[in-house]
Symmetry: C2
Subunit: 115 residues, 2 copies
DNA sequence: CAATCTCTACGAAGATAGTCGATCTGATCG
DNA sequence: CGATCAGATCGACTATCTTCGTAGAGATTG
């Protein structure tokens, strides 16, 4: 409906809260988003390492897809690799405060060892 | 570990973000929480109506259980019925801003007809 | 005690999600 | 072109979730 849609990423106006929450309601994906929000942007391989995930590459790719289709992250092709970023502005526009709350809590997770 | 646990409700310190997000990542449960946050408290039957849910009574009871076990709502026995409330303080203590973000968005949902 | 009202608990059936190994595509570099 | 590196896609398997009808448990009312 609005901008940003390119067949792989949902438009900003098409984001749905239940989908975003479902996308974030997984330890692996939460770690991905939290790490991505911290480092700004990152290609898949590096993110998988940086997030400390021990999952297989196809599984990572699956989670990446869930996050992308929910509108949480964006993919940018750069040479042979995909650069991932969090769709901060779009998420803040649709669900004000949500991302901040999730990320802030997620950071506390790191230090308090709760998952 | 901390207070509030009574075998049915998790203690405040035991709340997990992924569980809370998963509990909220369902249209029916989201409607329950949003409505409950608005009316303050309500027994099951009234909440089911107020939230505009067309699900069966056992299904409602199931969702109610998911929310309770995630620590999102609290049940208080009053005569033959259970009074439900949102665990605002506990949620705000563990995940600052999360509940507000979800509820605020949910209210916009009502008027903009997006689900 | 019987009836009723409010919910819980118990399967069961169908759908969805997470995981992986194997394979494929697409870009880059000799 | 051949090799390689970065990911995507394809089944397949398992586990969990959603939903319901039926039945049960606890409180209140006659």
């Amino acid at each position: 409906m609005s901008a940003t849609a390119d067949d792989r990423h949902p438009a900003t106006g098409d984001l749905r809260l239940t989908k975003v929450l479902a996308a974030l309601a997984d330890p692996a994906r939460l770690a991905m988003v939290r790490t991505l929000a911290t480092v700004g942007e990152s290609p898949c391989v590096e993110l998988r390492q940086a997030a400390g995930l021990t999952i297989s590459q196809p599984t990572f790719s699956h989670h990446q897809r869930v996050l992308r289709e929910a509108g949480v992250i964006r993919e940018r092709v750069q040479g042979p690799q995909r650069i991932l970023t969090v769709r901060r502005e779009d998420l803040d526009a649709c669900f004000p405060g949500l991302l901040a709350a999730v990320i802030h809590t997620a950071e506390e997770f790191l230090s308090s060892r709760r998952t």
